[in-house]
């Protein structure tokens, strides 16, 4: 089963799940960061003109260039919960591969190894490694034991619909109940024939077909949602 989910079990038997993020959003995030860095550096180079570009100002600028080029991602990843500004805009973040917050060591390693990922040009090595493992880790991520996950809030707030609740006759497991609740909440986006088609599958539970089956299922959904 192909899936972007990344699952870990932490000590204590708790299962955590996250969605890994592939190259396309990460390339955009990188480009945004590149632009931001470019703006900062342009401002700095203008600021260092009064000091003399081939004198103190030039040295000052080169030192800052070094610091910004190498430490910009590390700084943001540590201080902004694994998100550089570009990553924040795309709703993605760097975490350790046990889904704990990224640490100084791992952030340093993954960002210093950008040099290797860049080889031979334009992050070819990085993209190729990302596409050759399941969790889209580039070489730096593999070395540091980190991965990039999606932390965008996806679910739109579901409105409670005005449906009279009805207790189902059959007892269902939790995942099965969730499916019926989903049916209620997403039925607004489904066409009428499709709703009936879906409801017909569960005729054994609702004992109704067609229009009535849909209505019955929606009422069960409302009951599972707690409107009793």
């Amino acid at each position: 089963m192909l899936d972007t989910a990344y699952r870990v079990e932490i000590p204590g038997g708790i299962h955590l799940e996250a969605q890994v993020v592939g190259p396309i959003p990460r390339i955009f995030a990188f480009t945004i960061d590149l632009v931001i860095r470019g703006i900062i550096l342009a401002a700095l180079s203008i600021a260092s003109i009064p000091l003399g570009l081939d004198g103190v100002g030039g040295g000052f600028f080169l030192i800052l260039l070094f610091v910004i080029e190498w430490l910009y991602p590390v700084l943001f990843e540590l201080l902004a919960r694994g998100q550089t500004p570009g990553k924040k805009l795309l709703g993605i973040a760097v975490v350790n591969d046990d889904l704990s917050p990224v640490t100084l060591g791992s952030s340093l390693v993954r960002n210093l190894l950008r040099t290797v990922d860049f080889l031979p040009f334009f992050y070819l090595a990085g993209v190729v490694t990302m596409l050759s493992n399941r969790h889209f880790q580039r070489l730096g991520d593999l070395a540091a034991g980190t991965l990039v996950i999606s932390i965008a809030k996806s679910a739109q707030a579901a409105s409670l619909e005005d449906v009279p609740p009805l207790a189902p006759v059959t007892q269902l497991s939790r995942s099965e109940q969730t499916a019926i609740v989903e049916f209620l909440q997403r039925s607004a986006h489904l066409s009428q024939p499709r709703q009936q088609e879906l409801a017909t599958i569960l005729e054994g539970i609702t004992h109704q077909a067609g229009e009535d089956g849909v209505e019955r299922l929606r009422r069960h959904g409302a009951w599972y949602l707690g409107m009793r």
């Binding site: 969605q19 396309i24 390339i27 070819l124 993209v127 996806s154 099965e176 489904l190």
Partner: protein, 499 residues
């Protein structure tokens, strides 16, 4: 469409996550999809390159322009792979979908959401007005994501070609005339050829990822609009209910039998739970504790290794006082030093002292890890009892061979040979420091002796071991002459110059 065989996890995803899923699909089916995108391209590529052999960029341009066509076979195969089928590339190629190809190669060539729109043409087979309506439904909120996919894949395709050329260039001595900084300003014909081949390869490499990302986005939209995930869950519920209601034939046959058998057996015998005695558990725990305390568990060994002397255990982390004192003293006598040889000189001394102090501090601070660099060697106490025989030198009589012969003549053959063997082991430990261990067998002991490399000694000991084993375990007496010979040799091999 049989959703039970769907190879992807159908659930609600954001557009970006759908793209990632597409890349995973391309990764999983990469070999098939790569072959499917390269194979139709090859004959035309060869023909075009033969025609335009002096300006291969024209061939590349035509191949690139026909890209919507090359994307169709991978997409067609993926739609089969998605439901767990294993389509053959070769046979699918004959039914290469040509639907609606003209618009795709003319004005729709400029479409910015090609990978997303392609399935509607290739798989749903819609044209004209129905196609436009369908696309309006599908696009929805995903237009920007589809656009991003197109943009990134397009850029990456050309960067990949460029990188491949550069990579090739890195590995040949000299260059074939690439000027990295002004694009590909003026290439030689060789350079053009290499770039063209790299671009064709990179096109075939990127097509699977690009079209799968678009396909996944299309699937995501359909999952959303048609609630595939809910259908799968509902089918599972219905399936489980049916199974619960309808017992299998085996159940029908076995159930009465099982009830009967269980009834028969549970009638007479007491339950297992009653047989358990709580006291046994406590005493068992004690016993286990006792056994674990015994000699057989755990080993003591003396390990000797290098380490730094322990000057101040309690203030391990503190910076040594005397360096600070020394620096203070240097500072206090600043004028003196200045008067003596100028500021630079005392600064130098200060720096050297600081550096020395730092080195010393580091050596002390990290003495643990440093001492680990020095190879440590474990030295074990020599064994005292082997095979139940006391092998300490003190337990031996003064003249072993004489004692052995005496015992032999008395008829205590076992005692005689065991004394000889024991004495040999003792001498080997004492004189040759052979590292016998309580767990070694006789043969292992002999091998250890052989490993010492003294030929006559090892020969003698092998023979003695053989004689001893035959007597000890096989109860077969050696001839008197053999014993005598062994005694004589013992004097030569093991007794001679020790006293």
């Amino acid at each position: 469409m049989n959703l039970d065989k769907l190879q992807i996890d159908a659930c609600m995803r954001s557009g970006w996550q759908a793209l990632d899923l597409g890349l995973l699909m391309a990764r999983a089916w990469f070999r098939t999809l790569f072959v499917a995108s390269l194979l139709p391209m090859l004959p035309l590529a060869i023909a075009l390159l033969t025609v335009f052999w002096k300006s291969p960029f024209w061939a590349l341009f035509i191949l690139w322009w026909l890209k919507p066509f090359w994307e169709r076979l991978p997409l067609f195969l993926a739609s089969r792979l998605l439901f767990g089928e294993r389509p053959a590339v070769w046979s699918s190629m004959r039914s290469l979908p040509l639907k609606d190809i003209i618009p795709w190669l003319l004005w729709r060539r400029f479409s910015l959401q090609r990978a997303f729109d392609n399935p509607v043409t290739v798989l749903e087979d819609l044209k004209g007005r129905p196609r436009r309506q369908r696309l309006r439904v599908l696009h929805g909120k995903y237009s920007d994501v589809a656009l991003s996919n197109q943009f990134v894949c397009c850029c990456f395709e050309w960067l990949l070609a460029f990188s491949l050329v550069a990579l090739f260039d890195f590995f040949i001595p000299g260059s074939f005339g690439i000027h990295y900084y002004d694009g590909f300003g003026d290439l030689t014909l060789t350079g053009e050829w290499i770039f063209t081949l790299a671009a064709i390869l990179s096109m075939a490499l990127v097509i699977p990822f690009h079209s799968m990302a678009g396909f996944a986005l299309y699937l995501n939209r359909r999952i959303e609009l048609e609630a595939w995930d809910i259908e799968i869950s509902f089918r599972n519920i219905a399936h489980r209910r049916r199974q619960r209601q309808r017992p299998t034939p085996a159940q029908v046959l076995l159930l009465p039998l099982l009830v009967l058998v269980t009834a028969l057996f549970t009638a007479g015998t007491p339950g297992y739970a009653e047989a358990f005695d709580g006291h046994e558990r406590e005493s068992a725990a004690e016993l286990i504790e006792q056994v674990l305390q015994g000699e057989d568990f755990g080993q003591e060994r003396v390990v000797r290794k290098w380490r730094f002397k322990d000057w101040s255990n309690d203030a391990e982390e503190a910076f040594p006082e005397w360096i600070i004192d020394f620096l203070a003293w240097l500072e206090a006598h600043q004028e003196f030093w200045q008067g003596w040889s100028g500021a630079a000189s005392w600064l130098k001394i200060l720096l050297v002292a600081l550096f020395g102090g730092l080195l010393f501090y580091l050596a002390r601070r990290y003495r643990g890890p440093l001492s680990r660099l020095v190879k440590s060697r474990a030295i074990e106490d020599p064994a005292e009892i082997l095979f139940g025989l006391d092998v300490t030198p003190e337990s031996l009589p003064a003249d072993v061979p004489a004692q052995v012969m005496c015992l032999w003549d008395e008829g205590a053959s076992r005692a005689a040979l065991s004394l000889l063997y024991r004495a040999s082991l003792s001498r080997l430990i004492d004189r040759y420091q052979v590292a016998f261990h309580g767990s070694h067998t006789e043969v292992e002991c002999a091998s250890l002796v052989q490993a010492r490399g003294i030929e006559s000694l090892s020969e003698y000991f092998w023979e003695l071991t053989a004689v001893w084993r035959r007597l000890a375990y096989g109860h077969r007496l050696p001839a008197g002459d053999t014993v005598r010979a062994l005694c004589d040799d013992w004097t030569r091999e093991l007794a001679s110059d020790t006293e």
